[in-house]
């Protein structure tokens, strides 16, 4: 007893003597590569992109500190040798690489960008709502101890294993009026049936949404199912004793208890929404016209096809800012508060 006590006491004393930064030196050393990666790749490259979005870079990034004359003023002065007047030119320099907010002015004056933002809004809102609702409903149905649960789970999760390009192509065929659903229904005898979302500029975003949901809800369902299974059996017993209907148990008791699972799902779905690119490329390439354009397509096209890096950087900076504006307050309330409690 006494020996152990002295040991602890001396250990504490050693800790106290060391400055805070030297404590746990081994684990701090081990995390240096991770810290460096975060600083260089995540923060460094992001800052680089933001800075270069204020330049006039085209195919290649411009050198940042090139200058050009801004003004030159002749300054009269007396020559020391013979006392006559002479002029010296004083030249003011300004950076020739930076163009201020020109790239952003152009971005917000471009119809294609405005259409992209609108499309992302519709796609994002619908995708978030339907993924959560459908994912939870499927999970709750599977949770009712049905037969062949494993088989159903595999079938529903299966599309997630496909790449977006494959999903996009498959749905492009299904929604094509000459080969897909419209053709099948017309062959059944409904001659005037029209279903061609990908060829109609008003509904094309929903055509893409269908494919996105088909691919993504399986994963949400699995997350939800894991969450539902994590609920204590006793809760169910209690609710049965009280005579609460099953649906009410799910809505009023299970869902509030599954908050962490919902948070995870929202983050995963949200990341998928912001980066939506390959699905659109495979299904419509942004058409008909520009009606299914998305911000990520604009960034890619400007940076690589049109050889205007700075314009692409400006667009990606706006994307980052939008995400940050939504995410930072939410993350603060979601994660920051708990730490303080």
């Amino acid at each position: 007893m006494t020996v152990a006590d002295t040991g602890t006491a001396s250990a504490t004393r050693v800790h106290r003597r060391r400055p805070r930064i030297l404590r746990n030196l081994a684990s701090k050393t081990a995390s240096i590569p991770m810290v460096a990666t975060v600083l260089v790749i995540f923060i460094g490259c992001t800052l680089w992109t933001v800075i270069y979005s204020f330049t006039k870079s085209r195919l290649l990034p411009v050198p940042l500190f090139e200058t050009m004359p801004l003004f030159s003023i002749p300054v009269p002065h007396l020559l020391a040798s013979d006392g006559s007047w002479d002029f010296t030119l004083i030249t003011g320099l300004k950076s020739s690489s930076f163009v201020g907010t020109d790239q952003y002015d152009r971005l917000w004056g471009t119809r294609r960008w405005i259409v992209s933002i609108g499309n992302l809004g519709i796609y994002g809102l619908c995708s978030m709502t339907f993924s959560l609702v459908i994912g939870f409903t499927l999970a709750a149905l599977l949770d009712r101890k049905i037969r062949f649960e494993n088989a159903f789970r595999t079938i529903i999760l299966y599309p997630f294993a496909l790449s977006f390009i494959v999903t996009g192509l498959v749905w492009q065929w299904i929604l094509n009026p000459n080969f897909g659903i419209q053709k099948v229904v017309r062959d059944l005898g409904f001659e005037n049936f029209v279903f061609d979302p990908l060829y109609n500029d008003k509904y094309v975003v929903y055509g893409i949404l269908i494919a996105g949901l088909w691919q993504g809800t399986g994963l949400v369902m699995c997350l939800m199912l894991a969450g539902i299974r994590g609920i204590d059996e006793d809760i169910w017993k209690a609710s049965r004793v009280e005579g609460i209907p099953v649906w009410k148990t799910y809505v009023m008791i299970v869902i509030p208890m599954m908050r962490p699972v919902f948070v995870t799902s929202v983050v995963i779905i949200g990341a998928g929404i912001v980066k939506v690119y390959d699905l659109v490329v495979a299904q419509t390439s942004g058409g008909p016209g520009i009606s299914s354009q998305m911000p990520a397509l604009y960034v890619m096209d400007k940076m690589f096809k049109d050889q205007n890096l700075a314009q692409g950087f400006a667009a990606s900076t706006v994307m980052l800012m939008t995400v940050a504006i939504i995410l930072i307050p939410w993350a603060y309330f979601e994660f920051g508060r708990k730490k303080n409690v």
């Binding site: 294609r112 390439s285 009606s291 890619m300 690589f304 049109d306 050889q307 205007n308």
Partner: protein, 409 residues
Amino acid sequence: MKLTTKLLAATALVGASAASATELEVTHWWTSGGEAAAVAKLAEAFNASGDTWIDGAIAGSGGTARPIIISRILGGDPMGATQLNHGRQAEELIEAGLLLDITDVAEAQGWRDIINPISLLDSCTVDGRVYCAPVNIHSWQWIWLSHKAYADAGVAMPTNWDEFVASAPALEAAGKIPLAMGQQPWQSSGAFGVIAVAIAGPDVWKAINIDKNAEVAAGPEMAKVFEAAANARAMAANSNVQDWNQATNLVITGQAGGQIMGDWAQGEFQVAGQVAGVDYECLPGLGVNEIISTGGDAFYFPVQSDPEVEAAQKRLAALLVSPEVQVSFNLAKGSLPIRGDIDMSAANDCMRKGLAILAGGNILPDGNQTLSPDTSGQIEDLMVEFWNDPNMSAADAQAQYAEIIANAD
């Protein structure tokens, strides 16, 4: 023991042949039927000369392939040679010293004397040094018409744009699409350019595309062009295809009356076994202004560290311009050769029309040579929206067009 000796001998053989022949990876975006047939001619000729052509075809149009090619060059993984549309696409790569200077080949072969029109070589030249080998001339200013479609509809084959517009209702009544159009942005922008040259004339085109005169772009001549394009948009309303060769296929099978497309469409008619003048008809300059733009393809050679590869790159450059390759390649591709001193007697009717216009000097530079990729991209975005949105008025589109030209560089 015996096996080992055989293996050793085989290795020695492979080693010996590798020393004399060099492998060059060549990237390009020639993947449709007619294009693939043409690029095979280049590969055959290069292989026959002792080196090895490693084919690096990239599917999709130039818009897909160019970013891949450029990022490989920038990323330090350069290919042996690559197709690009010469003009301003490679400007910055040349300035950054990433492309091989082939001036010695050009001088040894006397390119300045044989290449016609000389503007093709000028597009390859930066500060007096030559950086690419032009291989063909492609012109946009063509409309391709289907004999079958007009016979089915019972109307005479049009001989110019006005007759084509007048015949559209008859074609529609016969269940045909008057004008086949793919949905890709470059097709929308290209077809608009053709209509502009035909209706407003080459001087207006030059004022806008070379002098970047925004007043002309907003002026009355261009207003007529936008009205004509809006009219063409209505004629193409039922054309639901994406790629240009699918649209050409509508013309080949007689489902559509015509398609505005560059002369590369000719390769598709050839692969389908169709004959110019019998199965299909071509009208340069839409039959109004017989004039062609002389854009085209050229091969660039990214800088490599290996001197043997560099020697092979220069051998390929010389080969691409040689008379035999020019004849076989251009006949297969349906494009015009870059030199006037070769025998093109095997050319068909449409190519002869093109050769005659070229010989007469009725030529324009290509949009790729006069506008930066950034400006071209903005025009493409505008045009693809205009061609696909019937609610966008001609006046609206023209106002936006004039603004792009005002800010063009």
